[in-house]
């Protein structure tokens, strides 16, 4: 229990951030029409590629001879970039097709 209290006090800022972001997320997204379900999903999916930032930091701080870190980080960068580029691009392609009545 003491340990829990200590963790809570130390990370208070992050706990606030966590809670408010969850509330914000539900508020921002809650009313999405059916037509946009797929683009919302693939767009959000692209945003989850933000882990790429972590992978870049990982490689930038790795020693030039720490091959395990470098290789795992490289793999992370490749996967994260596919996720981001592919996700945003395909969402854009889909949204480009959604048009209002032409005539």
């Amino acid at each position: 229990m003491e340990q829990f209290i200590a963790v809570f006090n130390e990370n208070l800022f992050f706990i606030y951030l966590l809670i408010f972001t969850i509330i914000l997320g539900f508020e921002v997204i809650s009313k999405v029409p059916t037509i946009l379900h797929t683009p919302l999903m693939s767009g959000a999916n692209a945003i989850s590629g933000v882990v790429l930032i972590g992978a870049i930091l990982l490689i930038r701080t790795a020693g030039a001879d720490e091959y395990l870190r470098l290789i795992l980080g490289l793999l992370g960068i490749i996967l994260g970039t596919i996720n981001i580029v592919g996700g945003f691009k395909v969402t854009d392609r889909m949204l480009d097709m959604f048009k209002k009545k032409a005539k």
């Binding site: 914000l24 919302l40 767009g43 490289l74 996967l79 945003f88």
Partner: protein, 466 residues
């Protein structure tokens, strides 16, 4: 000092683009801008992370740019080439890659601790293990979902008897190991065992879920990847990753809830593996003694051409047959003759949330013609002809009038209230849920068997001759 300020400011801008980007994605008119905005914010944040000066950092730019080039090229090519009918697969696989990326980061950061070369607090450790667990489950689960959607793996091949219980046991094992590693003792061997079992659990978690339940599992996996990204953000103390990840988690959770509501089932019920498929009994009291009536292509063409209003109800069969453009062609012909054509879209039609909307948009159907369930149910009683294309459970009247049916209580499109119903279907076989559909035996209903695309193009030819 200044560099930290620039970095923090850039991440703040990144966070704002994500929030407003998602907000704009919520309305058809602004959605494209929203996506662009989030993409811009992401690019900006990545560039700043790349080039911000760091003390004593070896940088290893060759590795980074190599990775960015390879990933960017693969991502771009895939996004341009993918067919709209293959969207559910693509969303699954991209999602899995995001989860894998988070898992890789967590592994790399945690491994030195388990090898005894780095000290970590149990809070850091627990968060790292959490990111790893969710990321791995999302990765292997998404891979299996991809395999299923791509048709590489059949549901029956991976579903074991008592799979629900097996999954529960595995879940507790994985959680137990995670807690052990976080708070008690750990060796690198145990760490790798944890990774192995968690990967298997991801497969096993998705294994019993299939068919019409795919939209639920895809959105659930999506939300898990978001959470793993957020947890990884805690490792790097990166607010951008935390906020981005949680927003994705929220989006995925909302979609998961919507999909479950659209089927009137609890998430737990979906995860455990569905509709009485275990029993396999076909329930269909209405079918006793009645036979379904059929209609010829010529008769159907005439009926459509001379009616005032037609509503198409697309289902997964439309995607399988790749018939979206053929439907649109038929729509145009009918439209010319003054027939009011609309489409009624059930929220869980297809294999991912919004699947039918994407397909019809690809065929250039303007989105005001796509009605959601409530709008459709309002106009269906005044509709002359409803054409059901490859949909089944979402138009089953048993959901409303037979309390014994497994889908009883699920909101459905009330097509039987229309004046005439024509069902395009490959055969009389029941839908995913294995439930007989009394609609087929209704007096107003006529069946036209065959591949949807073939039938629709025959219809188009007939209508042209009228």
């Amino acid at each position: 000092m200044e560099t930290t300020f620039i970095l923090n400011l850039s991440y703040l801008i990144g966070v704002l683009t994500f929030v407003f980007g998602l907000r704009l994605l919520g309305s058809p008119d602004t959605a494209r801008k929203g996506n662009m905005l989030a993409a811009f914010g992401m690019t900006f944040a990545v560039l700043v992370t790349l080039f911000i000066p760091m003390e004593d950092a070896p940088n290893n730019y060759l590795w980074i740019f190599g990775g960015l080039m390879i990933g960017g090229l693969i991502g771009w090519r895939t996004a341009i080439k993918v067919k709209m009918t293959d969207m559910p697969q693509l969303v699954s696989i991209l999602n899995g890659l995001g989860g894998a990326c988070a898992a890789l980061l967590a592994t790399t950061e945690l491994l030195p601790y388990f090898q005894g070369t780095l000290e970590m607090s149990s809070t850091q450790l627990a968060i790292g293990i959490f990111a790893l667990l969710i990321g791995l489950v999302s990765f292997s689960g998404s891979l299996l979902a991809y395999g299923k959607l791509q048709g590489l793996i059949k549901d029956s091949q991976v579903k074991l008897p008592k799979h629900g219980i097996l999954n529960l046991v595995m879940l507790f094992t994985v959680l137990g190991l995670g807690i052990l590693l976080s708070f008690f003792s750990g060796s690198s061997t145990l760490f790798f065992i944890f990774i192995g079992i968690t990967l298997i659990y991801g497969f096993s978690f998705v294994a019993p879920i299939g068919g019409a339940d795919m939209p639920v599992v895809i959105s659930l996996l999506n939300s898990m990847t978001g959470l793993s990204a957020a947890a990884a953000g805690f490792i790097y103390q990166s607010q951008l990753m935390i906020v981005g990840g949680i927003l994705v988690g929220a989006a995925g959770t909302i979609l998961t809830i919507l999909m479950c509501q659209a089927m009137n089932r609890s998430l737990l019920n979906v995860i455990i593996g569905g509709f009485g498929s275990a029993g396999g009994a076909v329930i269909g009291s209405d079918s006793d003694g009645k036979t379904a009536k059929t209609i010829s292509v010529t008769d159907m063409a005439i009926q459509l051409f001379y009616s005032q209003s037609v509503v198409f109800v697309p289902g997964y069969g439309l995607a399988v047959a790749q018939a979206q453009k053929t439907v649109k062609e038929l729509e145009d012909l009918l439209d010319k003759n003054g027939v009011d054509v609309k489409y009624a879209i059930h929220p869980v039609a297809g294999r991912m949330p919004g699947h039918m909307n994407v397909l019809l948009a690809e065929a250039n159907v303007p989105y005001p013609k796509l009605l959601d369930m409530d709008e459709a149910n309002d106009i269906l009683p005044n509709t002359d002809v409803v054409v059901v294309v490859g949909a089944n459970d979402v138009v089953n009247p048993a959901a409303e009038d037979s309390p014994g049916s497994p889908i009883y209580g699920m909101p459905v499109l009330q097509v039987w209230k229309a004046k005439n119903v024509i069902v395009l279907k490959r055969s009389m076989s029941p839908g995913y849920a294995g439930i007989q559909n009394p609609l087929f035996f209704n007096d107003k209903t006529k069946m036209l068997f065959g591949d949807a695309k073939h039938t629709l193009s025959e219809l188009t030819k007939e209508v042209k001759t009228l």
